[in-house]
């Protein structure tokens, strides 16, 4: 199925680029603009594809909606591991993924990587109280934050995942089950001789739909009524089960 889509997209790009955007060195598009979370949602792979008119490497970054994150460090007190120190980070991308056709350090100098925030550890994440805490400590906490995000499949780095086919390229982007709702920004960079020649931005929107959307809204907009409904449903289900089993 994916293969047929890929072929279709290649044909599409070939004709559209040949006709309208001869001057553009880089064109990108994604296989779908929105991801709907419904009851059978187990994560989603989407396809980013494009063409480039010149030789060069491709780097893709995907950033999810920003959030505030509380990071705790455990230390041993009285023989047990206790959350003791904490730092709050703001402007943390809830999701961050990076893809490229080869090792990023070989493509682009670290200075530009820092500038464009390419790579999870180069993200400019702010702390809420940086005046009291040393930079070394903040970096320790930041690394801890990134490790946790990677464990939850929300941060990923996939060098070599961008596949070239002459002027065309494509890459699969994986959104896990726990990808939060919101707008995800996808930036594609075309790099030649350590310089960024062109870049394109796409965005993808993740949203809950159907019964999932309704339940989520109900719980958040009418919490009291939701709580009462949950109790009534529970009592009803418990009674039904009991009646059924009495017959048997």
């Amino acid at each position: 199925m994916i293969k047929i889509l890929v072929i279709f997209f290649y044909i599409f790009i070939f004709f559209s680029s040949a006709k309208s955007s001869i001057m553009e060195t880089l064109n990108t598009d994604i296989s779908q603009q929105t991801i709907s979370i419904s009851s059978n949602f187990t994560g989603k792979k989407i396809l980013l594809f494009g063409n480039k008119e010149i030789e060069g490497d491709i780097i893709i970054t995907i950033k999810g909606p920003k959030e505030k994150i509380l990071v705790h460090e455990k230390t041993k007190k009285l023989g047990i591991w206790v959350n003791s120190k904490k730092i709050v980070f703001s402007d943390v991308p809830s999701y961050y993924a990076i893809a490229s056709n080869r090792n990023i350090n070989d493509i682009i100098p670290i200075g530009i990587q820092n500038e464009l925030q390419i790579g999870a550890k180069r993200l400019k994440i702010k702390t809420v109280h940086d005046s009291i805490i040393s930079n070394k400590k903040i970096n320790e906490f930041k690394s801890g934050l990134i490790r946790n995000k990677i464990r939850k499949n929300l941060y990923s780095s996939n060098e070599n995942s961008v596949i070239f086919n002459n002027k065309l390229f494509r890459s699969e982007i994986n959104f896990p089950t726990n990808a939060p709702e919101g707008t995800y920004k996808i930036n594609t960079y075309l790099v030649e001789n350590s310089k960024i020649i062109n870049s394109k931005e796409n965005s993808i929107f993740i949203t809950k739909v159907g019964i999932e959307r309704k339940i989520y809204n109900f719980a958040n907009k009418e919490p009291a009524l939701y709580g009462i409904s949950a109790i009534i449903i529970a009592i009803f289900s418990g009674s039904i089960a009991s009646i059924i089993f009495r017959r048997i």
Partner: protein, 305 residues
């Protein structure tokens, strides 16, 4: 086949959820405990957010307890008067407990408090049950031991006395209210019905007959966990109705089988068996507290006050 749970924001395999519900529900029917002391840690273990686990489990216990209490009611094993008195304390305790929960969550210590409370209570109660169970089994083998018509407990000397026909007790209403209050607090914080504390308290502190404790405990657990469900829905919006429904689909079936088998086993054997399970869960929790975590850093969404 996976199902996406809208409040937990997770996708889990349907058989995993049904199986967990069924297994814990079986124990729930067998021992008359809500099963929360097993289910809450299990849910957290499979990656559910602890706050969602606690609140959702409270909702599921409502259903499991309704189903369980009907089975006991048919056999006249519920002391409604005693249950209602305990419930007065239970509603007060669970209301206060839900606000303590909210506060501990804001200062980032809820997980630790949950673990330590579990460890302490499960250790004491597990040991007590095994000890009592073994002693009773040995005694019954030697002399054909039978329970006396009634014991005299220190609690019987307190004021505000009332007669409880089903429990064959004439005792003060203060100890049941107090027991209900303490268990209510724990119910809200730990996401448990509190049966594993309530049942020993009914036997050892209130002096109720073993035959009535399970049904009466389940009866008051329904209302306490309903209160917890309601308060967590309002305070934190963490009750996942879909997850609760799936868990209880498994649990109500399991609970029926558990309840049927419980009438065939002796009380002493049940107590020793439950004591063993309690100690196992306790051991795992203590192990997790003292062993160095693979990553000393952990993250959670920052909840602004």
């Amino acid at each position: 086949m996976h199902i996406y749970f809208p409040i937990a924001e997770q996708s889990l395999h349907i058989f995993l959820v049904l199986g967990m519900g069924g297994g814990v529900g079986f124990l729930s029917g067998l021992f008359g405990v809500g099963g929360g002391f097993l289910m809450t840690p299990l849910l957290i273990f499979i990656g559910i957010n602890p706050a969602v686990a606690v609140a959702t489990e409270a909702n599921q216990i409502v259903a499991a307890s309704v189903s369980g209490v009907i089975a006991h009611w048919r056999r006249k094993n519920v002391d409604f008067k005693m249950g209602s008195i305990i419930l007065i304390g239970g509603l007060m305790g669970s209301t206060i407990g839900s606000f303590i929960f909210k506060y501990l969550r804001e200062i980032g210590q809820i997980d630790l408090v949950i673990s330590i409370t579990f460890a302490i209570f499960l250790l004491v109660i597990g040991l007590l049950m095994i000890f009592e169970g073994i002693r009773a089994i040995l005694r019954s083998k030697r002399t054909g031991y039978r329970r006396k018509a009634h014991y005299h407990y220190w609690a019987h000397g307190l004021p505000f006395k009332a007669r409880f026909h089903r429990s064959r007790l004439y005792t003060s209403i203060l100890p049941p209210i107090f027991v209900g209050f303490i268990v209510g607090i724990l119910s809200a914080i730990m996401g448990v019905g509190g049966g594993f504390i309530m049942i020993p308290a009914m036997i050892y502190i209130l002096g109720m007959p073993t035959s009535a404790v399970i049904g009466t405990s389940l009866f008051q657990i329904i209302f306490v966990t309903a209160n917890v469900t309601f308060l967590h829905s309002i305070n934190t919006q963490t009750v996942d109705i879909v997850l609760a429904l799936m868990l209880l689909a498994g649990a109500v079936v399991g609970a029926q089988f558990g309840a049927k088998i419980s009438f065939k086993l002796k009380g002493e054997q049940l107590r020793a068996l439950l004591g063993l399970i309690v100690l196992l869960v306790c051991g795992k929790i203590i192990f997790d507290l003292i062993i160095e975590p693979s990553d000393t850093f952990s993250i959670m969404p920052f909840i602004s006050k």
